[in-house]
């Protein structure tokens, strides 16, 4: 039944999009006069849950409102969060990138290694170039060679990790100084540095999505690739640049994470790719593309970290924590499905 509604939405999109010039291919933003419930939920649901969780935890969980603890939650959410901003771009086009975990390992290793050799300038720039390069490679294969994103990025995950193991020689890079690590562990005006960068990335990301042709192309290509193509949207080029954005964001997250940990190696953060995708989807972006927003991604990344922080503060058994985290993910994502079912039933009866 979900397919029907989706199909109908797509069909209506196609009919409105097709005759229009590309500048008019604006993303769908709910009904024109009325606010539709699912759009509101999609965009602000997770942010609302996050704020509610904060309020409840603030009054009920010891140490949660402690300024150190709170700063730590925001800091920790930044690494997955920054990569998730980039991931939102490709998921909006109905693809995703499984290689981010290995890109993270390679770029963080590179950053820490360069920093430890007192090449701070290079440590902050070269990993970004590498990340962008990996994104270009992924983008070329997905957009121009038309290989499914799942396979391209899964293969790249193996390839990059294998390569990093070989160049790193199995050893973790270590950094002992202070200049580089302040980027990961420091504060600016009382707010953790990585979180400030996360906010900047999210805001820039949202502005680009909303106010540039690139952003509009992403929504158009994700809603209906064929219709967008007909309407003159450069679908392939848009998809290509989407992968470049993920690569760049992941590399930025890697540079910060390396500074946070003082160390990095090829085996960094197993499961990172799934956490990033989960944050994007929990934030309301549809895996089928065309719908979603960065505010959701932003809130979801913080929600995951808050949840695990609260479970830690409550000393919940680590095995039970897994069950709780998975259940929260499923329940949050079921809300929209259950609501639409109820709506259909009401409409019918």
């Amino acid at each position: 039944m979900m397919n029907e509604t989706k199909q109908i939405l797509q069909d209506s999109d196609a009919s409105t999009l097709a005759p229009l010039p590309p500048s008019a291919t604006t993303p769908r933003r709910g009904g024109l006069g009325s606010i539709s419930w699912d759009v509101v939920w999609e965009r602000y649901g997770i942010a609302t849950i996050l704020v509610l969780l904060w309020v409840v935890a603030y009054f009920n969980v010891n140490y949660f409102g402690n300024v150190d603890n709170f700063a730590e939650v925001l800091r920790q959410s930044s690494f997955v969060g920054i990569a998730a901003v980039g991931m939102t771009y490709v998921i909006l086009m109905g693809a995703f990138d499984l290689s981010v975990v290995s890109t993270l390992g390679l770029c963080a290793w590179l950053a820490v290694t360069l920093a430890s050799k007192h090449q701070l300038g290079l440590a902050l720039t070269l990993p970004l170039l590498v990340g962008i390069g990996i994104g270009m490679l992924n983008g070329t294969m997905v957009a121009y060679l038309r290989i499914p994103a799942f396979i391209v990025t899964l293969a790249m995950q193996f390839l990059i990790r294998g390569y990093t193991f070989i160049v790193a020689g199995g050893d973790n890079a270590l950094y002992a100084g202070k200049e580089y690590t302040s980027l990961g562990t420091g504060f600016i005006a009382g707010v953790p540095t990585p979180f400030i960068i996360f906010i900047i990335v999210a805001v820039v990301g949202a502005v680009v999505l909303r106010n540039t042709p690139f952003g509009r192309y992403i929504y158009a290509a994700g809603s209906n690739a064929q219709a967008a193509q007909v309407a003159g949207v450069p679908v392939k080029r848009t998809l290509f640049w989407g992968f470049v954005v993920v690569g760049g964001c992941t590399a930025l997250a890697a540079v910060l994470l390396g500074a946070r940990l003082y160390t990095a190696g090829p085996g960094l953060e197993p499961g990172f790719e799934l956490n990033v995708i989960a944050a994007v989807v929990l934030g309301g972006t549809r895996l089928s593309g065309g719908r979603g927003s960065l505010i959701g991604t932003f809130a979801a990344a913080i929600l995951f970290t808050t949840l695990s922080n609260v479970l830690n503060l409550l000393s919940i058994d680590p095995f039970v924590q897994q069950v709780v985290t998975g259940s929260v993910l499923l329940i949050a994502l079921s809300v929209e499905g259950v609501r639409s079912r109820l709506a259909e039933r009401l409409n019918r009866g």
């Binding site: 942010a47 140490y63 150190d68 050893d171 009382g190 949202a206 994470l257 190696g265 085996g267 000393s315």
Partner: protein, 325 residues
Amino acid sequence: MRFPKLNKLLIIGATAGMLALSGCGASTAASSGGGGPKTIGFSVYDMQYGYFQTMEKGTHAAATAAGYNYKLFDEKSSESNMVSGTQDLLNQGISALIISPFQPGALGPIVDAAHAKKIPVVVDDIGGGSSNYDAIVISDNANGGKLAADEMDKELKAAGKTGKKVASITCEPSAVYAARRNVGFDAEITTLGYTVVSEVSGHSKQEEGYKDTQDILNAHPDIVGIFSCNDPMAVGAAQALKDAGKSGAKDVIVVGFNGDQIALDAIKNGQMAATVQQQPDKMGAMTVDLATKLINKTAITFDNPGAREIYVPVNLITKANLPTS
């Protein structure tokens, strides 16, 4: 266009809310170190492994016995979990931190943050990285590998075997410190006149130790000994030998590392020859003792004062000296 506005409002609101929350949070920051019992925080490598469950039991029991409150965090084999979760512990007013680090390199930020709060840090096993920890209790991994090589040589000579080919199964490529077991083994067994003909990774998993051993047997049917970086893989190797109609205690000498229960059972049943036993429960108790000394600022005698190291001997367990349990 009402949505962009709503969006902006929400972002501003949320950010303001966060700052407000963290701001007034400061006033409620609980003060520790008052009259009541002190708390010890333990950050454990990964509770999915028997070895660390035993370590946790030892630590917990010793902390309770010494009258401390006890808080546990499970790093779940992830370095960023390790850093953030341990930070959570530090923010809960603990008096001392004990940590068995998944990634010793990442101890730096933890030790820095702890010392900023004047909380002493005791590292339990694995390694200290290049961090400024207060004390470390560690098994001698390289020496354990050497013990394993000596035992293998002894048993092979006793059985009158003349073959000189042995294999070495490693943990994950990323487990830098555990790899020292294989390095120690390889060096000693080579000195004893053997050749390590195969060095493969079983990623610490029993089922991969099984498969690796099948491959080793096919490539080198005349292999006489297998050393494994941990016990689950050693038991997997012994099982593969059994399925190939051989014994891991007689035909091919299998030696593991850890002293996990499954390995002790396998040695008892004559499926594998030996394991290098670490003593995680004892190590846990020692760390609590060290933490007490650090809290009370009493002197500690180190085995290696330069690196603030205290060694815990590793034992060789064979059928002859199996602990009765």
